[in-house]
């Protein structure tokens, strides 16, 4: 069962309660009612079935009310008696208020009194009181004496519970039980039956005299009624007033990824995900609607796993020295098991994020894990295995081209190779050729994944237990890998009276990395092709007379990380009154990372006489606890529904990290044993306590499913601010108008099946700054002096800074055509972020580089997001669906008072985007000299900081994805293309001509007077004029900025389900075979390695191909 069922739509409730239900009483089900009420009836009937005590005896009812709503009277009766009312809310609108006073009265007496002069009537059947409009008398029952039984199954052949089954002859309706079985009595054998269920296509079957039917329902193509989890409450896409993108667990499962964030790439509008490396667990850049904060660390979204905030900061960044995961350290979401995830919702606009207050400034990523479902105990096994390689390699010079470059460089410089030019001076064998890319990063990695799940339960208690294992290697030579094992548990219980619900979810992931400390990609692309053999004749590392750093020695410096991640939460809900629920979420999560980085003696050139090894031992512990009591009230108000939520959050995060530097290991075999060290020093200690407290409220009013208003407010307090500055108020309003529900639209635009306009505006805050900045403190130095502790000041202090604010506006139109077979939505958003908490840059003479400050700078992100979902073709055997998303983002620094004279002026310019680069502008390679020429703005003859210009941006112009999904009988094919139109940086090593390999592109260099080219003349002099002009053109200039657009076949998944007839023979519920691939093809003109990570330091994302099988028992 779900956590927050109380705000589900009525339709969902049907399913929900059916799921609770015991074996229902089908006989009682055959009721007749007007079409639009039938679901309601079933609902209430089920409730009735469940709640009727086994022994029931006539009992009196005592009641004293004045001017009470009829519904409230029903409730009061239900509270003290077994009688249950069945009615449609809309029929209640016209009823009169009731004043009645009875003591120990029989039910009939009471009913007579309260229904007196009402526009509705009632019908007492046993303990069920059917209420309906008087002018629509209950249908009379005809006797045909014909019974139909059967089963409704889904696409996988599993029984479908809670399917509404309506007899066309008289609108009799029943529902299927947990296993999908149903029974209809008194059926006209010539009639037809309608099968309908939320999320499935309605099907009509003619009975044609059959007694037994098996009916298969297919998932409906329209996604409008799919549940959307929106923080503390759920809604549907149809009724949502905010902007939420969603990916289902099924979509995640089609992608062989280790980190669930990777599965989001290209699938959602407004979300840009960039893999920075092909190392499992490496840093991932993620931006929801652009960058809002001038602080690079202030742009993390909020991650919430099952209601508990999850760390966005890397644990490894506080841990042992390793650069293997990239700049930001390893991504903490890699500690999750993608297979445990039921759905990921990305909350984008103010309406959706405001309930998270300050934490939601950069958007919210809600991760919901899988929950148990009632039904027969079910085993699921899933296994896949495969291989990966890097997506792209560089075209590098071969030995003869390389030597040509080097010799030409010396000729150009009028120099001869000296003792350090090992590649030419005879030290290295110039006839050798090694493809170092192939040698060092050209390997094939293996990937395997196994998952097992068991789930099931009764109507009141359900469970799910999952276990998983994932292992991925690296493409480097040697035995490197990351593996993780996980357990996932969910238990739900609902009390017999359905008032009390408890749900427990716990996940534990243990992962284990064994990786090189540093990525060797740069070595692979820059080693000279005539560099020596890795090993000498004796199989020892070859140092070739100390002429190089043997790349294998880099791989010997290893990093081992063990991490343990516990996420647990309990959700409690109690129904205090009809429509009033008291809920509490309790969450606790804890992540621990133990890292060891080792530098063995053997990794050193013996000439350095290093006789001892060293290691770093580090532990990082973070924990979060959370208590969130909430009150939720749902009530009918006029012709609409009001839903009120009020709650409070108490949250505490702690981080405790220590790194020990251990030295003097006499033996490499002992490097992981800290007690074998002769010297131990604390090299890093961090402790952070963060507390957060908030009050939040939401009022939602839905008038006839046509007009919706959603108001959210939150008062947040954060310990990251000084006394008196801790609290901030935030809020949002969301409005929606479902104009397709207006009669005049229905009448005039019949092709329009759905139409909604929505808009939202709100303010959220941001407190993503370093803790304790308002405190003047000292910290211990890494090393003692004379055995006594050293203390140094931590920072310059400004105690009065406070919240960054983020104002978000969005307007969206959502349209559905052809019975929602074509759904389009187009959004425009504008986020303005101000009071920027930027470390205000100070000159070094102040002793520090910056101070915390609220700057009145305004950063604006605007954009257009378009999503298109179509069902192109569908018949019995074939379905073809397409989803397209497109995002066109724009970013601008609107204002920055006083930017002149600050360090920000080095990086940003008012009126330009934050993605702008302040660089020298490369003009040409001088045809006369072969030197790179940059624009000398002030024509003073030197290129210095006065010549920097804000000309080129490194950013996405637009991006998106095209996903096609085709099913044919038992085959399913999903293909996702990701497209990104962007400018990027082409990282380049050294000036061509020095002792480093280069792209073959450099062969197009300047050679003689008059040559027109963009590559300067070869030079080997680091400090020479060519090298200086090269640095100014590439490192400090914009020569390397160019098109990095790409189209990537991001994901392709093909599966085949074994036909049920085969399965029956082997008594297995289902078997599915599949092939999946990630990053299979890339089309790009990018000059570097991979256009996505744009790095020579980090290995590109991997191209992965896997095959697997899924079995359900």
């Amino acid at each position: 069962m779900r956590e927050y069922n109380h705000s589900l739509t009525q339709q969902n409730k049907t399913m929900l309660l059916t799921a609770f239900g015991k074996k229902p009483c089908p006989e009682v089900f055959a009721l007749c009612k007007t079409g639009r009420m039938r679901k309601l009836l079933i609902l209430s009937f089920l409730a009735a079935c469940l709640q009727i005590p086994l022994v029931s005896k006539a009992q009196g009812i005592s009641l004293e009310v004045q001017d009470a709503l009829l519904e409230n009277v029903f409730n009061l009766v239900q509270r003290q008696s077994p009688y249950r009312f069945v009615y449609a809310s809309e029929d209640m609108a016209a009823t009169k208020k009731v004043t009645v006073s009875v003591t120990n009265a029989p039910i009939a007496t009471l009913l007579e009194k309260i229904f007196k002069d009402q526009p509705i009537g009632y019908n007492l059947r046993g303990q069920v009181i059917m209420v309906s409009k008087i002018n629509q008398p209950l249908a009379t029952v005809q006797f045909y004496g014909f019974t139909v039984t059967g089963k409704v199954i889904d696409e996988e052949g599993k029984g479908l519970p809670a399917v509404t089954i309506t007899l066309k002859q008289n609108k009799f309706a029943v529902a299927t039980d947990e296993q999908g079985y149903f029974k209809l009595t008194d059926v006209n054998p010539a009639s037809a039956i309608l099968f309908s269920s939320v999320g499935y296509e309605t099907k009509e079957i003619k009975i044609e005299g059959r007694n037994n039917l098996t009916v298969q329902l297919f998932r409906s193509v329209g996604t409008l009624d799919e549940t959307v989890i929106k923080g503390y409450y759920n809604t549907s896409k149809r009724l949502n007033t905010g902007s939420v993108a969603k990916i289902t667990g099924e979509e995640i499962s089609r992608q062989p990824v280790s980190n669930p964030l990777e599965a989001l790439e290209g699938r959602m509008a407004g979300l840009y995900v960039q893999q920075t490396s092909g190392i499992p667990g490496a840093a991932i850049n993620i931006q929801i609607r652009g960058i809002n904060s001038l602080r690079t660390t202030g742009n993390f979204p909020l991650y919430v796993v099952d209601g508990v905030p999850y760390t966005s900061a890397s644990l490894s960044s506080n841990n042992t020295p390793t650069t293997i995961f990239g700049g930001g350290g390893n991504n903490p979401l890699d500690y999750l098991n993608p297979a445990d995830i039921e759905s990921i919702e990305v909350l984008k606009d103010a309406d959706a994020t405001a309930i998270y207050g300050s934490r939601g400034a950069n958007g919210v990523i809600l991760i919901t894990t899988k929950k148990g479902k009632a039904g027969k105990t079910k085993f699921d096994l899933n296994f896949y295995t495969g291989a990966g390689k890097v997506t792209r390699m560089m075209h590098l010079l071969n030995t003869s081209q390389y030597l040509e470059m080097r010799h030409e460089a010396f000729r150009n410089d009028n120099a001869v190779p000296d003792i350090t030019d090992y590649d030419l001076n005879g030290n290295w064998d110039t006839t050798r050729y090694t493809n170092w890319q192939k040698m060092l990063i050209g390997g094939t990695t293996s990937i395997s994944n196994a998952q097992a799940t068991i789930s099931g339960g009764s109507a009141n208690t359900q469970f799910l237990l999952g276990a998983g294992y994932f292992r991925q290697g690296t493409v480097f030579p040697g035995d490197f890998y990351s593996q993780k094992a996980s357990l996932h548990l969910n238990i739900n219980h609902v009390s017999e009276d359905h008032k009390f619900i408890i749900s427990l979810t716990a996940g534990y992931v243990a992962s284990n990395n064994r990786l090189p400390q540093a990525d060797i990609t740069r070595t692979a692309v820059s080693l000279a092709p005539d560099a020596p053999n890795l090993y000498d004749q004796n199989g020892q590392l070859n140092w070739q007379g100390s002429s190089w750093t043997n790349p294998m020695s880099l791989l010997m410096k290893q990093y081992k990380g063990n991490s343990y991640n516990l996420i647990s939460n309990i959700n409690l809900s109690y129904q205090l009154l009809q429509g009033l629920f008291l809920k509490t979420s309790l969450g606790y999560s804890k992540q621990e990372l133990q890292g060891i980085s080792t530098v063995p003696i053997y990794s050193w050139d013996p000439a350095f006489n290093v006789t001892s090894g060293r290691s770093f031992f580090a532990t990082t512990n973070t924990s979060t606890w959370l208590i969130e009591p909430q009150l939720n009230y749902q009530h009918r108000l006029g012709q609409g529904k009001v839903d009120v939520l009020f709650g409070t959050t108490f949250q505490e995060n702690k981080l405790d990290a220590q790194t020990l530097r251990a030295t003097g290991f006499s033996n490499d075999a002992l490097l992981e044993n800290v007690s074998a060290a002769s010297g131990i020093a604390l090299s890093n200690a961090r402790y952070i306590q963060y507390k957060y407290n908030a009050f939040f409220g939401r009022i939602n009013y839905n008038y006839k499913d046509k007009y919706l208003v959603n108001l959210t407010a939150r008062r947040d307090g954060s310990s990251r601010f000084g006394p008196g500055r801790q609290f901030g108020n935030f809020g949002a309003i969301g409005l929606a108008w479902i104009f397709s529900n207006e009669t005049f639209i229905k009448n005039n635009l019949p092709f329009l099946s759905f139409g909604k306009l929505r808009s939202s505006y709100g303010i959220t805050g941001n407190d993503q700054i370093t803790d304790y900045q308002y405190l003047s403190t000292y910290s211990a130095t890494a090393y003692t002096y004379q055995g006594n502790a050293g203390l140094i000041p931590n920072r310059l202090v400004n105690p009065v800074y406070s919240w960054e604010t983020n104002k978000k506006f969005e307007a969206t139109v959502e349209l559905g055509f052809l019975k929602d077979k074509l759904l389009v939505s187009a959004s425009y958003f504008r986020n303005r972020s101000s009071d920027q908490l930027v470390g205000y840059s100070l000159p070094y003479i102040t002793g520090f580089t910056d101070i915390q400050f609220n700057l009145p700078a305004i950063v604006q992100n605007t954009g257009v997001e378009i999503e298109l979902n179509t069902v192109n073709y569908k018949n019995k055997n074939w379905t073809w669906k397409t989803n397209i998303n497109l995002t066109i983002p724009r970013n601008k620094l609107v204002s920055y008072p006083g930017i002149e004279g600050t360090a920000a002026a080095n990086n940003y310019a008012v009126g330009k985007s934050l993605y702008i680069k302040n660089k020298y502008h490369f003009l040409q390679v001088d045809p006369n000299t072969g030197i790179y020429v940059n624009e000398d703005i002030n024509a003073d003859g030197i290129i210095n900081s006065d010549d920097l210009q804000f000309l080129k941006e490194v950013r996405q112009n637009y991006f998106g994805g095209i996903q096609n999904s085709i099913t044919f009988k038992n085959f399913q094919l999903d293909v996702l293309f990701q497209f990104v139109k962007q400018t990027g940086i082409y990282p380049i090593n050294n000036a061509p001509g020095s002792l480093a390999n280069q792209s073959t592109e450099v062969l197009n260099r300047w050679q003689k007077t008059g040559d027109i080219t963009s590559i300067g003349k070869f030079s080997q002099d680091y400090a020479g004029a060519v090298a200086a002009s090269f640095n100014d053109a590439y490192l400090n200039g914009d020569h390397g900025i160019g098109d990095a657009s790409f189209i990537r076949l991001k994901n392709i998944a093909l599966s085949w389900k074994m036909p049920p007839v085969w399965l029956q023979r082997i008594k297995i519920k289902s078997i599915r075979l599949f092939i999946q691939a990630q990053n299979l093809l890339t089309v790009t003109k990018y000059k570097g390695m991979d256009p996505e990570n744009q790095s020579l330091q980090q290995i590109p994302p991997l191209r992965v191909l896997t095959a697997g099988v899924q079995v359900s028992l």
């Binding site: 009061l76 003792i419 007379g545 100390s546 205090l576 009154l577 008291l582 000439a607 006489n609 001892s612 409070t648 108490f650 530097r661 030295t663 003097g664 002769s678 010297g679 200690a685 961090r686 402790y687 952070i688 507390k691 957060y692 407290n693 009050f695 307090g717 310990s719 609290f727 304790y772 405190l775 003047s776 403190t777 000292y778 910290s779 211990a780 890494a782 090393y783 003692t784 002096y785 004379q786 006594n788 050293g790 203390l791 140094i792 000041p793 310059l796 100070l842 000159p843 070094y844 003479i845 102040t846 002793g847 101070i851 002149e900 360090a903 210095n944 900081s945 400090a1023 090298a1027 400090n1036």
Partner: protein
Amino acid sequence: MKFHCTIKNAFFLYLLLSACNLGCKKFVAVDPPKTQIVTASVYSNDGSAISAMNGIYSQMISSAGFASGGYVSVTLLGGLSSDEFINYSASAELETFYANNLNATNLTLAGSLWQEPYQYIYYANAVLDGLSISSGVSAKTHAELEGEAKFIRAFCHFYLVNLFGDIPLVLSTDYRINAVLPRTPKEKVYQQIISDLTDAQGLLPADYSFSNGERVKPNKWAATALLARTYLYTADWVHAESASTSVITNTSYSVAGDLDNVFLANSEEAIWQLMPVLPESNTNEGINFILTGTPNSVAISKHLLNAFEPGDKRKQAWVNYYIDGMDTFYYPYKYKIQASGEPVTEYSMVLRLAEQYLIRSEARARQNNITGAQTDLNIIRARAGLANTTATTETSLLAAILHERQIELFSEWGHRWLDLKRTTTADGILGPIKQPNWQSSDILYPIPQSELKNDIKLTQNPGY
């Protein structure tokens, strides 16, 4: 009944939430982190206040920069800029020091030679601030720490003014003042250095009791020695002579007879040494200079090598070499220990007595005290096994002293670079050997570019 009960429940919940509301201000107040100490409590007692000074020394010696003797210290970078070393490092930034082709965007320059000393000045000012409002520190410790802080402030300003010329003079911790400081004329900087050192002389103990007998914290004589140098640099020959005399006549210090003993921990010649703090390590100089393979940092230049007079024992004791096939690389061997794990027997020398003799010799020569100047110079020459100086005039003596300083103080603290600058001999000496890049303006390093951006009142040195 039940109904009322739930109303009561709801009411209770409301009360509970209201109570939480009142309590939440308290809830979001957190204690200072365990790993940090609130400033006020640092200066509440002797122990932690002393730690605030220890922190500065620990940082100075454990970084690779400014005062560490390491890879990007004044010792190494000053040596590259002058004629002491050949660059073998692959760093383009170091190459520009060697080629006297620096530009203002050089990050090594900005980080090691500008930012780092200013950071220590801030720390020292913070100690002075902290002490000024503290009542928990004993009078004795208060005086010692104030003296140490003023010494460090003077010491850092001394190197900044020599490397960069006019510099911002930072005397407070208030960023609102400091962030917009203009450059102070170097005469005024020297005045402040002299004032700080004079204060320090009065505050610091005359022995090493406050550093457990080890010569690892600057005492009164360190302040006096640096004062002597400052007077020399500001052409105040009378005071330079008197200050150096008071150090020389102090019986705690004597010129070590054995050249191999000069750089040992607490050697008789040491006035102030920084103690290595990295575990298992001796000095950064030893780690950095000693060659066991083809150099990948620096080696001694032939100009320095050829400057040794025949029979100079210092060439045997303080220079060593590594032969790689046909090539021989010479390296500074004042510090003998490179390997990790050896017992720590060498400390990094900052101020030593030999320099004081050379200071006095020069001050005397400038005052035309030829005999006095010769006597002091000959003490240093005698230890090196050399005959008495043949210089007899002020001019020839000054040349002899400059030469003696080149040999005696090589690979220490950029002495050569500072000497060439203050004696205005750089153009003549470096001009010919540092072709084609040498320009007269190279004698001052550029003010870091980022600094000019962040402090609008700063101006650049000529030539950059």
